[in-house]
């Protein structure tokens, strides 16, 4: 069943709205204008309303027994909605207008990733998903995940406020650039100078067979692209140099490393531009490239961009943020809110697994990664009573928790194989 046009249109408006909200939030962060204090959450709220209505329409269309979170596309849309609502609540309840500036890009990315998922239809439920537990289990997951994400955004702001070590931030930013390039480019781009394109194209939100006649449904072509391998090499070498300079120590080294990182970042942006250019060019003749890799590149560009901005203007950014204790306190509160939900996901998941598969715990990757997340936050909560584990260290654990949550949610669907991977089909 194709989703109703209204539902699709509302989701598109919501996406645009989140983009607008992000802009206003960043404006508020930078300039603290009175109008943006009201406009930012208003636009965010309106977008979330459109988003929620779109989901509700989808639910109505699919029927009561088929909630709109049963495949990868739907769950991305649903979890993005949960994140938007929770961050709005935190924003309004604690009068913290800074969360939105970081959460709106995440919500937008979630929807962007959903847009890339090939199957968007209201698919009928496979037998194992026909259970009341899909309502409870997956619905609760949104509370836990978005709670942890908002909490870690606050913890990150706490780190920004109290000052991050330039050395480690610069080093890890440089390594992030390097790692992303290695992941996206692989040996083909670096060593052979070839970029992989497939005969299947991604057009109009759908994977479609290449109109050019060919025997295999998916056939890969390695295309030699001018400048692309060179840009990969230049960016990586610059990032490696920046990583080295930051690790080597010394204020003057850090400053040089920072400049090198900035040049590397410019080169990285040029690389993304070139890639978009190639994809546009080849898509016009019916060839596609992996959209997820481009998505990852852009997302990482935003993250590294902020890190570099912090390396140059850290003190100014920190001055704009509220008191560190307040950030820490709200982060702790939101974690306290999310932790019981995380526990409940594990328990309801176990009950469901017991009913469906005859074992309540089977060491399936989804179960174990969820356990890792639970352990990280259990550690965070115990750290609160342990001297030396509060403040910065707690914030770092919370930020690690962010990656763990993302990995628990998407890693199992996109990377690891397991029983839950049916969500990716």
């Amino acid at each position: 069943m194709t989703p109703s046009p209204l539902s699709v249109a509302l989701l598109n408006y919501a996406m645009l709205g989140y983009l607008a909200a992000m802009t206003v939030y960043v404006l508020y962060f930078v300039s603290k204008k009175r109008w943006s204090y009201i406009a930012a959450p208003a636009i965010f709220g309106a977008s979330a309303l459109a988003h929620g209505t779109s989901l509700a329409l989808r639910w109505f269309q699919g029927g009561l027994y088929r909630p709109p979170w049963t495949n990868l596309y739907e769950s991305l849309v649903y979890f993005s909605f949960g994140l938007a609502v929770l961050s709005l609540v935190v924003d309004l309840r604690f009068k913290l207008r800074y969360v939105g500036a970081f959460v709106t890009p995440l919500v937008f990315s979630g929807l962007g990733l959903a847009y890339l998922v090939p199957i968007k239809e209201i698919t009928p439920l496979v037998p194992s998903l026909q259970s009341w537990w899909i309502l409870a289990h997956s619905c609760l997951a949104a509370f836990a995940y978005s709670g942890f994400i908002v909490a870690s955004v606050l913890a990150f702001l706490y780190l920004v406020k109290t000052g991050m070590s330039e050395r480690w931030l610069g080093f890890s930013t440089a390594l992030t650039i390097l790692g992303t390039l290695l992941l996206v480019g692989g040996g083909d781009v670096f060593l052979k100078g070839l970029y992989m394109m497939s005969e299947v194209v991604f057009v109009g939100g759908k994977w479609q067979k290449n109109p050019i006649p060919g025997s295999d449904p998916i056939k890969f072509f390695e295309i030699s692209v001018p400048y692309l391998p060179q840009l990969f090499w230049v960016t990586s070498v610059l990032a490696l140099g920046a990583a080295f300079l930051h690790l080597a120590g010394g204020q003057s080294f850090h400053k040089r490393g920072r400049d090198l990182l900035l040049i590397s970042f410019v080169s990285y942006l040029a690389l993304i531009g070139t890639m978009i250019g190639i994809i546009a060019q080849y898509q016009s003749v019916g060839m596609g490239s992996n959209p997820y890799s481009l998505f990852l590149l852009i997302l990482m560009a935003a993250a590294t961009g902020f890190s570099i901005a912090y390396l140059y203007r850290g003190a100014r950014i920190a001055a704009k943020l509220p008191d560190a204790r307040w950030l820490d306190g709200v982060s702790y509160k939101v974690t306290l809110f999310a932790f019981p939900f995380m526990t409940l996901i594990l328990i309801t998941g176990a009950i469901w697994a017991h009913e469906a598969w005859g074992r309540y715990w089977g060491w399936d990757p989804k179960e174990t990664t969820a356990l890792v997340t639970w352990l990280i936050y259990a550690g965070y909560l115990h750290g609160r009573f342990t001297p030396g584990w509060t403040g910065k260290r707690a914030a770092v654990i919370s930020v690690i928790g962010f990656f763990s949550v993302i990995f628990t949610y998407l890693g199992t669907n996109l990377v690891l194989s397991g029983l839950h991977s049916y969500g990716s089909k």
Binding site: K32, K33, R34, Y37, F94, K95, L96, R97, T123, P124, V126, P127, S128, Q130, S131, W133, P322, D323, R325, W326, G329, L336, F337, F339, P340, T343, L344, I347, A350, I351, W352, H354, E355, A356, W357, G358, R359, Y360, W361, G362, W363, D364, P365, T368, T369, L371, V372, L375, I376, A378, G379, H382, G383, F385, T386, W389, T412, L416, S417, G418
Partner: protein, 490 residues
């Protein structure tokens, strides 16, 4: 003896430290992550490990025990250490918790500015302390159960507390986790998982163990499959699988249920789950048509026969029997392959001769007439293979003897978490002296929300009892929270 005591003390303080608990959290998280990323042997499909990892990688992963992390001794040891630490920490911190529960004093002795709890307020009054104190107690009584009023040294003390046992939530949580681990241990030692495959009409008295391949374990009763079917969506995707099951114990039907995915049948703690569904061939049958031609009379007769069935030739002039069938007989002709097509192998005996074996080819009807020149010419006309499909349902059989312990532990864990995070131990003291009302409050969790409530109480006292016009002007000291709110831009 002193030496042993010292060792015991060292051990105790080692296991009761929160740092050890944090260390176990970290190592557990790291090893669980390793087990999530590396494919695990128990859940990998056959051949999957070899496909994904090279032989060298596999060798190293095996060497470090990373292919079955969750059943390795070091993983189980970490879980055991976690349970031990939880227990020791819980015992160790009991005196402190008991003190917190019992520490409430209804008379606030220390009223100096530095000695008061974080939240407090002072109000001036010019009334009789005694009657004012009782009026205040009335107001407090609306919010707290049983406020205590004490008169001491000319001062009236009103004190109240709520949910002092909230401190015990941690114990409930820890008990829950230990019970979950114990439940898992019981299931791991006494439970089992296995498979049974049945078609309608079939029955089984044993299952195949999942851990040891090929091991059949008796159930102790009989399970019968009366029917199995599937439902499809209009587009052909599977919608539901059903199996009608019946359990026979001691010659009597003791349980019966139509199970489907997410809805198992249980008997004596053994659960039967709808796990797989497929089709299998049954009633396989073949029929072979041969033509027997009499070269003299040119009369022919079609013989419908089957494997291993001895047929008599017309007029009793011998016997034949089909012994084999081939879909194709390939022939090598000077390096070129030539396919002869379908053929049957026949054991033939004419006129009482010793039986001989000949091949007949469907594509070459004159082959026998030209090659053998026997009494009859045999022609292979047709070969039919037919079968019925019957559904076969795969049942997962499992027994989880520790499951109820685990569920109870999980319930405790949830209850403990909610009570710990949501129910605060709140304490309130009001001291009415000759010209001053002192309100002090403390809450071990979410102090700001208690602060709002106490502030309201203070306003009520000042407005109703002290008739002060502007209760907003009450000096309220609150160090724990507030004051950090992001200022609204002007």
């Amino acid at each position: 003896m002193k030496f042993l005591d010292q060792i015991a003390e060292r051990l105790w303080s080692f296991f009761s430290s929160l740092k050890l608990a944090l260390g176990i959290f970290i190592t557990l998280a790291v090893s669980t992550l390793a087990g999530s990323i590396v494919l695990q042997r128990p859940i990998a499909e056959p051949g999957q490990l070899e496909r994904v990892y090279s032989a060298t990688t596999l060798h190293w992963l095996d060497l470090f025990g990373l292919l079955d992390v969750f059943h390795s001794w070091w993983y189980v040891l970490q879980l055991a250490l976690l349970a031990l630490t939880l227990t020791v920490v819980s015992i160790d911190m009991w005196p402190r918790f008991r003190a917190r529960i019992r520490s409430f004093r209804s008379v606030l002795e220390a009223t100096g500015e530095g000695e008061l709890p974080e939240m407090h307020a002072r109000l001036n009054h010019a009334q009789d302390p005694r009657s004012l104190g009782f009026k205040i107690a009335g107001l407090v009584g609306k919010r707290f159960r049983r406020p205590v009023v004490t008169e001491k040294d000319g001062k009236v003390h009103v004190a109240a507390q709520s949910a002092k046992y909230a401190h015990l939530g941690v114990y409930v949580i820890h008990t829950g986790i230990v019970l979950i681990l114990i439940g898992g241990m019981i299931t791991g030692m006494k439970g089992f998982e296995g498979m049974i495959q049945l078609s309608p009409g079939e029955k089984a008295t044993a299952y195949f163990d999942r851990k040891i391949e090929g091991k059949r374990v008796p159930l102790g009763f009989e399970i019968r499959c009366l029917g199995a079917r599937m439902e499809k969506y209009p587009d052909g995707a599977p919608k539901a699988y059903f199996s009608d099951l019946e359990i026979v114990d001691g010659g009597k039907v003791v349980a019966s249920k139509t199970i489907k995915v997410n809805d198992p049948l249980s008997y004596q703690g053994i659960y039967f789950y709808q796990a797989t569904f497929g089709q299998t061939a049954a009633n396989e049958r073949t029929s072979i048509a041969l033509e027997v031609q009499d070269p003299k009379t040119k009369r022919s007769k079609v013989l419908a026969t089957d494997f291993n069935k001895v047929e008599t030739l017309p007029n009793g002039k011998g016997t034949l029997e089909v012994v084999d069938y081939a879909q194709n007989i390939p022939l090598d002709v000077e390096g070129h392959r030539k396919d002869l097509g379908e053929a049957v192998k026949i054991k033939l005996s004419e006129n009482g001769e010793t039986p001989r074996v000949i091949w007949l080819f469907k594509n070459f009807p004159n082959f026998d007439a030209e090659m053998r020149k026997g009494v009859y010419n045999l022609v292979f006309k047709n070969f039919v293979y037919d079968y019925d499909t019957v559904p076969v349902t795969g049942l997962q059989v499992a027994r989880n003897p520790g499951i109820n312990v685990t569920w109870f532990g999980a319930a405790l864990l949830m209850a403990g978490l909610l009570s710990t995070f949501l129910i605060p131990h709140r304490r309130l003291w009001i001291v009415v002296s000759k010209d001053e009302v002192l309100v002090a409050a403390a809450s071990h969790r979410h102090p700001e929300s208690f602060g709002r409530k106490v502030k309201k109480l203070v306003k009520e006292i000042s407005a109703e009892l002290l008739s002060q016009k502007d209760p907003k002007k009450v000096a309220w000291s609150e160090k724990l929270s507030g004051g950090f709110h992001d200022p609204v831009p002007a």
